[in-house]
């Protein structure tokens, strides 16, 4: 599959920050999930997904994000979205993601959020 997706990540304490760039489709969603599972998932209580450089997410990408939310919720962890483009924010609202995940304006706010 053709993809322009890239990501990088860093761990701060029990928080994993994943910053994405490009279209979150099947490939992008898989890479985010792989990045999460490559860490010691039981130790991670919060995943911060920084979408500053991502402008579009398709429904396959969203299905990966829902899985990530479910996985985190099983271990009382949570997913926080940050730097959301307005159209992605609306997409996540319609798809019901904010019932189980949070959003903040910036990574710093996400790091500080309870």
């Amino acid at each position: 599959m053709i993809s322009d997706f890239k990501l990088n990540s860093e761990i701060k304490g029990n928080m994993l920050i994943i910053s994405t760039e490009g279209y979150i489709n099947n490939n992008g969603g898989q890479k985010i999930a792989d990045e999460f599972y490559s860490k010691k998932t039981n130790d991670i209580k919060k995943v911060i997904l920084n979408l500053e450089k991502t402008k579009v997410v398709n429904s396959i990408g969203i299905s990966f994000l829902i899985e990530l939310i479910e996985k985190l919720n099983e271990s009382n962890g949570k997913l926080v979205f940050t730097n959301l483009d307005a159209s992605i924010d609306k997409t996540f609202t319609i798809m019901g993601l904010y019932h189980f995940a949070e959003k903040t304006d910036t990574v710093e706010q996400a790091l500080g959020a309870g």
């Binding site: 322009d4 279209y23 489709n25 579009v56 398709n58 429904s59 299905s63 479910e70 997409t91």
Partner: protein, 536 residues
Amino acid sequence: MASAELNLLVDKLNLQVKSFQEGFEVLSNSKNLTDLARNFSHILRGNLLSINVNIFYKEQSEKDWRALYLHNKEAIKFTYELKPENILKINFLTDNNYKVAITLPMINSSYFGLLIGQKIDKKEYSSFDRVSIQIFLQLLDNAYQAYLNNKKEKELIFSLNNRVLQLNSLIDTGIELSALDKTESLLELALERAVVLTNASAGCITVYENDNIIKYLSFPPGIEENDLKESTNKLNTEFSLLGKTYKFILIEKESRAGVIEFDDTDKILLEAFARQLESAIENEHLHKEALEKENIKKELSVASDIQKKIIPEKLPEIDGYDLAGINIPSKEVGGDYYDCIELNDGRYALIMADVAGKGVPAALLVSTLNASLKSYLDLQIPLDKLAQKINSIIYNASPSNKFITFFIAVLNPKNGELDIINAGHNPALLLRNNGVLQKINAGGVALGMFNMGLPFVGEKITLNSADRLLLFTDGIPEAMNENEEEYSDERLEEFIEKYQFPKSSELIDALVHDVKSHTRECPQSDDITALYLIKH
């Protein structure tokens, strides 16, 4: 059966019933398949008092067993004891570590496999245990169906939400497209939305004009058109508008299981985006056209105002002469100009000019000419020098494609002497009182064309009583009818020779009438301007 034994059995059964109820509740709340297996393993182990209970899963009969929950990692070596069939198989084994091997077919053609070790007390599994196993397996079957229903419900909600998202995006995109005013942005937005909402992995729009590619865009950016064209999994649509053809290609519809075929909904969505784009481009074009028309209208209005201020409302009355003039601007507002300026020495300057071009630039140049003439005429410098000065002013004030054809005749009303310069203008027509028609060509090149000091050669003539002089612009001889036939210099000359009205204004009116009778319904393409002088 003894009463004590019976009571024990009843207690045991009551305990089992309670365990079933609690077990079902626990299993029903399982978060996923692994969770379900782990919970079932605990329930079974607790009720049978087994050393270990290992649970496997097979998606389809031809696939391998996958361990869902293992008490003992070695158990995976014994999956050969699990034989998937269409009916429940419970085998009680005697010759290995595992005493019970169960294969349970499920509703969706998958299988659960269980390998149960020996009991803690190392006794054989009793008849009661065997019945309990059957009941617990029924419990697992029910819980699995509940799990599947729950999963289907989630998928259905996801699918419904996705449909709402598609509909919402379609509406939003229509609104956003209508707010954009650059074709490139329109193409980018429509393509991006079409790719994302159909779950395509990529797409492109190619715009053709006369079979040549004039625009190409891809999403994600940077993908070659050939890479997309070569894909075997694609969806196309196209439309043509204003001489251009817009072709969409989307490729590789994504799913969690890999690339799948685009469906009818994807086709409908793509065509809807294409229609929205078509409508937005058409609206953008109409908007630009309306703006251009509005700008032209404003420019013409400004030009018309300038021209109205320069063209004299009333000509001076010259003792012993009758003078009349007319200017009928064309729809596009030309650059014609005529005037009669009284000089401070009692002479009169009759002026006729025509600026190449139309609109505000032409009107401004006429304005410059008018101002220059008014400044220099009273200085009483020779006409050839005056023409050179004004030529220099016009040359410096105008772009290279703008110039003015110019005719000036300074009349001394006392003796009828006319001092004339014709700078590239139509020759004036002088009808002598004996019926002889003369053309006055004297002069040089049009004003503003060159600034090389080229001479303007003047001419002097004297008007006699009943002589008549017509100055005019090319709007008269070049007035065209529907057959593209000009009114012509010949017809004008014939008219001047033929009609000798006593009043100048009557001649002017009759001339305009004659020109209009030639052009009929054809719109006037240039200004009609004339100045007619009769010496009494």
